[in-house]
Symmetry: C2
């Protein structure tokens, strides 16, 4: 049965939100064991209050400190050895759990992950990867912000890892790998993507070439590769535009009697659209490339969003993702280097 | 009276679309003179067919060639000296017109602009700038694709030019300049934006710091500065997501009797939303930094979109934008360099 460590203290929402999320999940995942990491007294009190009072599926692991959202990774590493984040990742390293979920500070989470778990041999830098909805399916985009200055080799490594994750989670053979670029022609792009494109063409991956921003949501590819700066701009621009559309819909449908009546008649359609535009539905990014599964939740995740992140952790734990990557990565990269030689 | 040269041959849609666009504009802008540039016989024939037959506001300027959409800039420069793009920009250089509008190949348009008009003293590279809608107003974003590998000084120059254009067109004093970045804290970002941020802080501009993708559509700033690669990803991601939302709305409201009835009741609200998400409404990007006003239209612009681009040209011609920039730029940049010294 999958063992999931949940950092119950980090993030903006606190343990109560985490417990509300788990309250729904224990029913849907009766075979999963959850390890709540944080201040024991606080968690006991919250647990007594919650519907999880009597379940065997939730255990408490004590941790006396919490890493602040703006705390420097170095401080989180050295200064707070008994933080909930620290203890949760420690459980992962010792093999007591199969995955960790945290809504804490990304920099600290990544730093702790690197120090405790190390990166998979052949991978220089872990990337942040997340599934996003498209017109017909979904796309796995990486890196979404861990590496703002990349070399071409890093983008190749992201592509290899992303292909494995996508294939594992969706069951797709040879997922289509696209390189986020500003035109479809090969000559397009900045120095980084031109060089990365050459490496990707020589890899065994199912590389379909450049993908423009406008094609991503039209099923342009399965795995979208970019550096962490561009990926973060892509992700946050999408969230911002989606939020604007939702705000404008809300405004239109709450203006006056006509709007409110129209809303009643359209509720099903509008709710479907709102769900599609709701970034909470896609919460849960993987710190991909570490010897262990760490899922990063939005810092301000509510119960619904946090539950999605935990579900990502459960899915990846079931697929033993890290082992898969470790197995495949080295042959892949070795081959690419042979080909490019 | 403003004189506008319209490249009637370039782009995917052809002269008929251009004339349909102008047919609406001559009424709204009775004081504007339009110079249709392209093959005389073709344009005469189309003009006879159109509602513009008898107007004095439209003249034809002959050009025997057309620059292809995929043609290399070098080819457009040397190989096609009598292309409609060439002739139109020639009219601009000779001062016979105040602005040029073309739906042609961006690379060729920029190359011809640089060679014929040169860049404004103090500006190393022209940028592509366009206004986009936000929750409460609009944002001028640049560079949207002309310069994929930038130095910090280029981003500073974009900020200076963008501030002038925004102030001119909107009448806003000291527009808020934001640097597109992946976090609001100063330490965030890649090497380029960190260095650019330092220059912007020392400039006289109303620099408000980093703006994240999620804040752009929430009125995060008036002028959004980024390199051409990131800007193009930002722009096309927005267009792609907006298109997906429109497609899903259309799908919901054409499915079954319920959907179609719901649509009838909601038409006003939905049409308003669709207009907001309609990139044609924001067509017309400025090649900013040249000694002359050149407006680039989407290659596949329809009559509505092309008309918007022409309106951008008219507005900038009225404001004598280029002269303004030339006046201000050098003092601005000189001051920045003094400050940073």
């Amino acid at each position: 049965m999958p063992q999931i460590a949940v950092d119950a203290m980090s993030g903006d929402s606190g343990p109560r939100t985490v417990l509300l999320a788990l309250a729904g999940l224990v029913k849907d995942y009766p075979d999963v064991q959850f390890h709540l990491v944080g201040d024991e007294a606080t968690l006991r009190r919250e647990l007594q209050r919650s519907r999880l009072r009597d379940t065997e599926q939730v255990q408490i692991r004590h941790a006396s400190q919490v890493v602040g959202m703006d705390e420097a990774p170095s401080q989180a590493l050295r200064g707070k050895r008994d933080s909930s984040m620290h203890v949760a990742i420690g459980l992962l390293r010792e093999g007591q759990v199969d995955a960790v979920v945290s809504a804490g500070n990304t920099g600290a989470l990544m730093a702790l992950g690197k120090v405790f778990l190390r990166t998979i041999p052949g991978i220089d830098r872990p990337a942040i990867a997340a599934f996003l909805p498209t017109r017909k399916g979904r796309v796995l985009a990486l890196d979404l912000g861990a590496n703002v200055d990349c070399h071409p080799e890093h983008l190749l490594q992201f592509a290899v890892m992303g292909s494995i994750l996508f294939a594992q989670v969706t069951g797709t053979q040879r997922p289509r790998v696209g390189l986020l670029n500003i035109g479809s022609e090969e000559i397009k792009g900045n120095e980084l993507v031109k060089a990365a494109s050459a490496l990707l063409r020589q890899s065994h991956l199912n590389f379909i070439g450049n993908v423009e921003g406008s094609q991503i949501y039209q099923d342009g590819c399965d795995v979208l590769v970019c550096d962490g700066f561009v990926g973060n701009v892509f992700l946050k621009t999408s969230e911002g535009l989606a939020a604007m559309v939702r705000q404008e819909l809300r405004a239109s449908y709450t203006q006056g009697l006509y709007g409110r009546m129209a809303y009643l008649i359209n509720r099903p359609i509008l709710q479907k659209l709102r769900r599609r535009l709701d970034s909470r539905q896609y919460n849960g990014a993987t710190l991909l490339g570490l010897n262990g599964i760490i899922i990063k939740s939005h810092g301000n995740a509510d119960r619904l969003a946090f539950a999605r992140a935990v579900e990502v952790a459960i899915a990846e734990a079931r697929h033993r993702l890290t082992l898969e990557i470790a197995k495949v990565v080295q042959d892949d990269l070795a081959q690419v280097i042979r080909n490019s030689a």
